[in-house]
């Protein structure tokens, strides 16, 4: 009985104490950032607006491998790969992101083997018309390298392109001479 009463009193105290602690917050500093007037600090790896970057030579990095599209959990990326006739490079014939579906999870960036698709610290992309949230390649492609300044897929891929035949890539031997029997 005494134990029960003690429990009741202890419970009462704990309740009153929590109320007191909450009340103390009347004088605490508020943590809310007053967004439109006060811009929040964004980390460089913030997952915001998606862009397509270019390699250091200024060519499109995207090779149209479809990995971003398949990684996308909301299926909001669609593209068509094509091969450029003049130099044999793959590129996306069209590249479309439906930002009205995008959840900015960054899986596309993770999946991208050429560092082409990158998420940027920009989230201010509201529109009054949903249709304007459908971004085509010209809206996505930027003229810089983004987060990975030095990377050029075609330097390491081993795929022959114009001006970079077999054996000219990093860490590659000259093409094998099929007619030679030397080791």
């Amino acid at each position: 009985m005494l134990r029960k009463m003690f429990d009741v009193l202890e419970g009462l105290y704990s309740h009153l104490r929590s109320m007191g602690l909450v009340l103390k917050h009347t004088f605490a500093k508020r943590v809310t950032v007053q967004y439109p007037e006060e811009k929040p600090p964004l980390a460089p790896r913030w997952r915001g607006r998606i862009v397509l970057t270019r390699d250091p030579d200024g060519e499109e990095r995207c090779v149209g491998c479809y990995l971003c599209a398949v990684a996308c959990p909301v299926d909001c990326i669609s593209l068509q790969a094509a091969e450029r006739e003049e130099d044999g490079r793959r590129y996306p014939e069209f590249f479309r992101i439906n930002f009205s579906r995008c959840i900015f999870c960054g899986y596309c960036e993770e999946a991208c083997p050429t560092y082409a698709i990158q998420l940027t610290p920009d989230f201010e992309m509201c529109e009054y018309n949903r249709q304007n949230l459908v971004y085509e390649k010209q809206d996505l492609l930027i003229s810089g390298v983004g987060k990975y300044p030095g990377y050029n897929f075609y330097n390491v891929a081993g795929l022959a392109t114009k001006g970079k035949p077999k054996g000219q890539h990093e860490n590659e031997d000259a093409p094998v001479d099929v007619r030679s029997l030397l080791p």
Binding site: D75, Q131, F153, L159, V176
Partner: protein, 906 residues
């Protein structure tokens, strides 16, 4: 039955298997490269290593290559043991030392056996520090893209290409770790089956070049089980669609039909579906500026305008088609009435087809399925160039010559799957294969004997063989040399376990077909389980033949008689079937001409109305192949515009004309039931596939993979608000990724995938046993079965007329690329289709003072065809062979009397 212990668990396996096959059948993940279910084991890649133990006390064990180890009862092995795991990871590590870093731009990526196996073994990072080897690629023609850097030297390509498909121009070059797989120089791969390299190669060395033009990853296709329409064999295919265009054709395994392989016509002929020239809305011919022009109209306009022509009291003539589905032909028959329905065949074609049907329907000889051709041990081909007419049949007949020599290997105790020793034991021995043809064929290299003669000569040989086997069959009057050959063939056929006689209409001779029947029947009557196999010209020729009906010439007669105002032509280009003059007459006799077709053919171009029909990829239908196997093809995707199945157009017209009710035959199943009720011969086609009400776990079967990408973006450029998924009332499949994709019946199985197995090799996971039928049985039903006790009399022998002084006999030569109407408009196939030519025996040519390459004019039926001359040393004498069915070439009714003149060269 053998019990083996894998990681301590007792498991049942079949006797005579190798360990790898056993593991695969048990659903274990043992990685491998060089083994292929159709090619057997060679133990080259060392990837399938597992640990074998002497007995339960053996803790040490030893590594064995599972593909080279015969399963024995009580055997103890371990797959998960760490040493074998490390070994397998090491093997991949070594294989990957030179593999390039180009998966993102490799078309194999996502369905790559090498990717799967790398993941399976757990190899992650390349530890080799030195430079990668590179190779220069070759241009291998319009079908195959070559990227030699990716090669892992498993030798599957040359084993398939040379040993299986009989090609000569792909080989391994150079030595040690420089081995190179390619041709001796750039050039088109000669084999008609080169496209299978795409699926045989475990990685991206050989990829589909036509796919590269509109590349799509494996997971992004909308697929459905379908049937190839480019010849009569009915090979099972999986077409893949994306963004409204057909992207590629992949093989769909069906043991009873095509097995693992497709021919290049079937694989690369698909692009006619994507043609811009196709009609996409109902068209009406109008005169604009004095020229007839087809202008589009709406569906309702078209139906109300055209429907009137069929209303009660008016008579319409309908011409069916051997390349249209059973349903389409039946819908036409229902629209115009059975008495006004004509098969879309010329008189000559119809006669040959009914000769074949009469033989197979009433005779005692069974028609083996396409897959069973491999099992025969003596084959006689009468007057047919199988490679160009029925390509996969030729590939399977090529395998049949190995059956007798395999006995050598069996006698030495070598298991059948142990490929290299079996081939050593076979040496150069080949089983009996006799080919009688007008001109050399692509199977001649494995033939025991070839015989080149005129169709009559071939028929006589056939009758002589039959006479040798069963003296009751009519004798033929043949020379001594031919007689000796006939005896040799008769002996070979009689001493075989399962002889097979192959023939077909390519010789344009009923006698050849009858001779083949006589041989098969004679064998049957001598208690040999002889098979008979007829090639047929088009995808639904036999189905159309089973309808029964008159031919195009009869249709012309009926029109001439008057009374009929309207002519309906169903999926048929009449200019390819009968002389142009007759077609012109037909079209001018009818007041209204309506063409329902998916191609804007020459006939369609002259029609008053054209209704846009669906191709095989855009509609459901049933096709009956050359041996009477009915197979369902499911719609792959929803086409743009007003394109829909021909049967649906004709049903709508029937309703619009007041002949049928508006709500009649709305669904495919109800229509199919109407067909079967009307024509009982087709009653089994209902079993070809489950009905539209079929569900697995209450769900439809998805046409898209569970990884299908871009659903919310692919049409967002048109409108960001997503439209719903189109319902499919005709089949139990959904046009989306929603549904249940496991436990699917084989008839609805279009893409084969299990976790960890993304490549074409995943097929082994869906077979009842390695090389066995698909789980639940192979799809398709046989409509024609033999009458074993039939007492049909033998056909009479023909009188041979060997004199060829008066004129040349013009005969057709069929070409795998170019002779078939639909595939010929696919750019890759068109690139390889031959230029027009006329071919003569070199002696015949020399006698006329003509040389190879001369410009000549061939005069047939008053038509003058200017072409260039080809000569051949072995073909039949007195015959001029012309390529059949080439685009823009005029129609010739073969056989024809021809005159050859040297063209006047300027």
């Amino acid at each position: 039955m053998a019990i083996i212990y894998i990681d301590g668990k007792p498991l049942e396996t079949q006797d005579g298997q190798n360990l790898l096959e056993a593991c695969i059948e048990l659903g274990l993940n043992v990685p491998y490269f060089c083994w292929h279910p159709a090619l057997g084991s060679v133990g080259a890649c060392r990837q399938c290593a597992v640990k074998q133990y002497r007995d339960e006390n053996d803790k040490q064990g030893r590594l064995v290559m599972s593909c080279m180890t015969l399963v024995t009862d009580g055997m103890r092995i371990s797959v998960d043991e760490s040493e074998s795991k490390d070994f397998r990871a090491n093997i991949i590590d070594w294989m990957m030392t030179n593999h390039p870093h180009d998966c993102p731009v490799c078309d194999e990526g996502g369905e790559c056996h090498l990717q799967d196996m790398t993941l399976m073994t757990g190899h992650n990072y390349r530890t080799y520090r030195f430079k990668k080897k590179t190779y220069v690629n070759q241009n291998l023609g319009p079908f195959i893209n070559h990227e030699m850097n990716r090669c892992i030297q498993c030798y599957r390509c040359v084993r398939y290409y040379k040993d299986y498909a009989g090609g000569h121009d792909l080989d391994a070059f150079a030595s040690h770790n420089h081995v190179y797989f390619g041709r001796h120089e750039d050039g088109v791969l000669e084999s008609e089956f080169s496209g299978n390299l795409v699926e045989v190669c475990p990685t991206g060395v050989f990829t589909d070049k036509t796919l590269k033009e509109h590349f799509t990853r494996r997971w992004d296709y909308t697929t459905a089980p379908s049937v190839c329409v480019h010849c009569a064999l009915g090979c099972n295919i999986t077409p893949g669609e994306r963004y409204g265009k057909l992207r590629r054709i992949r093989n769909r395994y069906n043991r009873s039909v095509n097995g693992y392989f497709l021919c290049d016509r079937g694989r690369y002929g698909y692009e006619f579906v994507n043609s811009d020239k196709r009609p996409k809305a109902p068209l009406k011919r109008q005169m604009i500026d004095g020229k007839p022009v087809h202008v589009p109209m709406t569906r309702d306009e078209a139906l109300s305008e055209i429907g009137k022509f069929f209303s009660n009291g008016s008579k319409a003539i309908g011409i069916g088609s051997p390349r249209a589905s059973l349903e389409a032909n039946f819908a036409l028959r229902a629209l115009v009435g059975a008495e006004n329905f004509y098969l879309g065949l010329s008189k000559a074609d119809g006669k040959l087809l009914s000769a074949v049907l009469e033989i197979v329907l009433s005779g005692p000889a069974r028609q083996p399925s396409l897959g069973e051709l491999k099992d025969h041990d003596a084959v006689l081909i009468l007057g047919e160039d199988m490679t160009n007419v029925a390509p996969i049949a030729a590939l399977n007949i090529r395998q049949s010559v190995n059956n007798q020599p395999r006995a050598n290997a069996k006698a030495m105790g070598i298991p059948e799957w142990n490929d290299l020793p079996v081939r050593r034991a076979m040496d150069t021995d080949r089983g009996p294969l006799f080919i009688a043809s007008v001109a050399p064929t692509r199977l001649d290299d494995v033939a025991t004997q070839t015989f080149h003669a005129t169709p009559d000569g071939i028929a006589s040989l056939g009758f002589a063989i039959a006479n040798f086997i069963d003296p009751q069959s009519p004798a033929a009057n043949v020379s001594g040399e031919v007689r000796a050959l006939a005896q040799q063939i008769a002996t070979a056929l009689q001493s075989a376990q399962k002889p097979l006689v192959v023939s077909g209409p390519s010789c344009r001779s009923e006698a050849v077909i009858q001779a083949a029947a006589n041989i098969a029947w004679a064998l049957c009557r001598k208690a040999k389980p002889a098979g008979i196999y007829f090639a047929a010209p088009e995808s639904n020729s036999v189905g159309l033949g089973l309808f029964g009906g008159a031919n195009i010439e009869n249709a012309a007669e009926a029109l001439r008689k008057g009374g009929a105002d309207t002519l309906v032509v169903l999926e048929n280009d009449l200019y390819r079937r009968v002389p142009a003059a007759l077609v012109d007459e037909l079209l001018s006799l009818a007041k209204h001409v309506l063409v329902v077709d998916h191609q804007y053919s020459a006939t369609a171009q002259k029609a008053e109305y054209v209704l846009p029909g669906a191709t095989f990829a855009e509609g459901d239908g049933t096709l009956v192949n050359n041996i009477g196997r009915a197979q369902r093809m499911m719609q792959v995707f929803n086409p743009e515009g007003e394109i829909t199945e021909s049967w649906r157009w004709l049903r709508r017209l029937r309703a619009a004309s007041g002949k049928g009710r508006e709500d009649e035959w709305i669904s495919f199943d109800s229509f199919l039931h109407a067909l079967v009720a009307e024509i009982p011969a087709f009653s089994h086609i209902l079993d070809a596939a489950p009905t539209a009400a079929f569900r697995v776990g209450g769900l439809k079967i998805p046409r898209q993979s569970h990884r299908y990408s871009g659903r919310t973006a692919m049409k967002a450029n048109v409108a960001v608000s997503e439209t719903g998924v189109t319902a499919d009332p005709d089949s139990p499949m959904s046009f989306s990724m929603e549904g249940f994709s496991m436990m699917t019946p084989a008839a609805l199985m279009s893409s084969f995938w299990t976790p960890g197995w993304n490549s074409a090799q995943s097929i082994t996971r869906f077979q009842e046993e390695v090389n066995g039928p698909l789980e639940g049985g192979d799809p398709g039903v046989r409509l024609i079965e033999p009458q074993p006790d039939s007492a049909v009399p033998y056909f009479d022998a023909v009188e041979t007329n060997e004199s060829h002084d008066a004129a040349w006999t013009a005969l057709p030569l069929y070409h795998i690329y170019g002779s078939e109407e639909l595939s010929a408009s696919s750019p890759a196939v068109a690139e390889l289709s031959p230029k027009p030519y006329a071919m003569l025996h070199s002696d015949d040519a020399r006698a006329r003072g003509l040389l190879d390459g001369d410009a000549v004019t061939v005069k047939i039926d008053g038509q003058e065809i200017s072409t260039s001359l080809k000569t051949n040393d072995t073909m039949a004498r007195g015959v001029v062979c012309l390529p059949a069915g080439l685009e823009d070439a005029p129609y010739i009714e073969f056989p024809a009397a021809a005159e050859i003149l040297r063209s006047v060269t300027s």
